[in-house]
């Protein structure tokens, strides 16, 4: 089985609200929606982010537009007004998600 990085088949964008981070994951081609659903589980994603995310990771599936929304709780060092991180919003973290490897 070939390993690929998610970035080869999908794109992503981060957003923040308080201490909660969300990252969309959108296949370039709608046919890859099912393989992403199977391979990119919230558990795997939580593992990918390690110590950055203290809380739960939840995935919302959007069958209507063939996209996923990952929501990361307790993930932004207290949120934009309190965090000491370089990237207080977590805006760069979409590229941490698409750097994840899956087996095709």
């Amino acid at each position: 089985m070939a390993k690929i990085k998610l970035r080869e088949i999908a794109h992503a964008r981060s957003g923040d609200k308080g201490d909660i981070l969300n990252i969309s994951l959108i296949p370039y081609e709608e046919k890859d929606y099912e393989v992403l659903r199977e391979k990119v589980t919230p558990e795997k994603v939580k593992e990918q982010f390690g110590s950055l995310v203290k809380g739960e990771v939840k995935r919302y599936d959007m069958d209507n537009i063939k996209a996923f929304n990952f929501v990361f709780h307790n993930a932004l060092d207290g949120g934009i007004t309190q965090s000491l991180r370089v990237d207080r919003h977590g805006k760069t973290l979409s590229f941490k998600l698409v750097d994840m490897e899956i087996e095709m």
Binding site: A12, T81, R85, T92
Partner: protein, 449 residues
């Protein structure tokens, strides 16, 4: 009522580019131009400015933006709606009034939305903040602001009073766009499917160029042309719950399924339940179609009744932040940066600096996420940031980083330093009945007072 309504975004955040707003005001065939300029941090900073000067606390770019768009908006009969009032909508209204008089547009009416102070009511009623139930009492003497996320209704009231320019403070971002949709199309405030649809379109518009190709490019994967010449988005909204998002021709960027999908999920938690003061939108029922070059049609969608509670952001003094950086280059850069960090930690302890939080980052080697960047980089920037109750402690942090010039490892350079008071934001939910809002029209006669 109109058949179609055209709304353009004039800004997607307070520091956004200014010229694209003038371009769509001139040639976007708009009915409304909406400037969305508030974020949690922006609001906190606005309150800090107002504390030092009671006539400030509104968006610093208000005047520059209005000077650029007023003439085309008057020529093309475009109404302006904005939350640039930030922490002081009344002062923003007065400033706008005097600007209109000066520029020969004295006949235009300025409408402002003012929220009554709710802090005392909140404390008396013992409302708890979102995450830490006891905190509202604990932080009471440090609180500098409490602002409710208001909905579309005060804006609609001002539109009915024929206001040409409407200035609000903290209002839900989508409400700024939803208000003209409800007003012009006569959507009832309990027609939840239409409101949910309107919120969805508003959500796509509120971040400006993020839906027209900005914040999207990834060379080799997502190529986007002309990012230096992006168009802000234009939405054409039909009364029957359909809309098209597009942009000006002959500009950079793109409006496509992929840009719209990314923006639809931006800052969203449960996509079937996107909550605002006006209603709850269900993004999982929306249909998206590309209808032509840079035209995406949105249809369907749905909504549910507005929540009984409104969100309030509470700003409180949270000590001082001091940050300083220094770079190391060439062979052994990381080793020397690490040595510098060890020296600083020892110095901070010897000087008995009292930090509530302290952080060291090695920029160029995993500062964004562990293992995220190659550690073979031959240049490293050490970043040190601390938060302390006392300003002097963070001043000393910065001094100690600077003093690495003469006391630290070899070859450190390019020190930068900054200190700011930290205004933190926390949230609460309160019953909408305890919030009172006033609207006010500043006519020709209320120039200055």
């Amino acid at each position: 009522m109109v058949d179609t309504l055209r709304i353009g975004t004039g800004a997607g955040y307070s520091g956004d580019r200014i010229e694209p707003a003038a371009s769509i005001a001139k040639s976007g065939d708009l009915d409304y131009l909406v400037f969305e300029c508030l974020a949690e941090r922006t609001m906190a900073l606005a309150h800090l400015r107002r504390l030092s000067d009671p006539d400030s606390g509104y968006d610093p770019l208000l005047e520059e933006r209005l000077r650029l768009v007023l003439s085309p908006c008057v020529d093309n009969k475009i109404k302006i709606i904005t939350n640039m009032g930030a922490a002081n909508p009344l002062a923003a209204g007065k400033k706008t009034r005097s600007l209109l008089n000066e520029m020969g547009h004295a006949c235009l009416k300025v409408g402002i939305v003012l929220e009554d102070d709710i802090l005392d009511a909140m404390v008396d009623s013992d409302f708890s903040v979102l995450k830490e139930p006891d905190k509202i009492h604990e932080i009471r003497d440090k609180i500098i602001s409490a602002n409710t996320y208001l909905g579309a209704s005060p804006i609609i009231e001002l539109l009915k009073s024929k206001a040409d320019i409407i200035i609000t403070g903290r209002t839900c971002d989508p409400s700024l766009f939803l208000a003209p949709m409800m007003h012009e199309h006569g959507w009832k405030d309990d027609d939840w499917d239409k409101i949910g649809f309107g919120i969805t379109v508003a959500h796509l518009m509120e971040c400006g160029a993020q839906v027209t190709g900005g914040y999207f490019a990834d060379p080799g994967y997502k190529n986007v042309e002309g990012l230096a010449n992006l168009s802000f988005p234009i939405a054409e909204i039909f009364a029957n719950q359909e809309a098209v998002i597009t942009k000006l021709p002959d500009t950079g960027g793109e409006v496509s399924l992929r840009t719209v999908k990314e923006q639809l999920l931006y800052e969203v938690h449960d996509p079937s339940s996107y909550k605002t003061a006006d209603g709850i939108a269900d993004f999982t029922k929306i249909k998206l179609e590309e209808k032509g070059q840079d035209m995406v049609k949105i249809s369907g969608g749905g909504g549910r009744a507005r929540p009984a509670y409104l969100k309030v952001n509470i700003g409180f003094r949270n000590g001082f932040l001091g940050e300083a950086q220094i770079s190391y280059g060439g062979y052994g850069a990381k080793n020397r940066a690490q040595l510098a960090a060890q020296i600083l930690m020892k110095r901070f302890a010897d000087l008995k600096l009292d930090f509530e939080a302290l952080r060291f980052d090695f920029i160029g080697s995993g500062s964004l996420w562990p293992g995220g960047s190659p550690s073979i980089s031959n240049e490293i920037r050490l970043r040190v940031i601390g938060r302390a109750r006392i300003r002097k402690d963070v001043e000393k942090l910065c001094n100690e980083v600077e003093a690495l010039y003469t006391n630290g490892p070899a070859g450190g350079g390019g020190v930068t330093r900054s200190i700011e008071e930290n205004i933190a934001i926390t949230s609460a939910f309160i019953p909408r009945e305890i919030v009172t809002v006033q609207t006010k029209i500043l006519g020709e006669e209320n120039g200055q007072d």
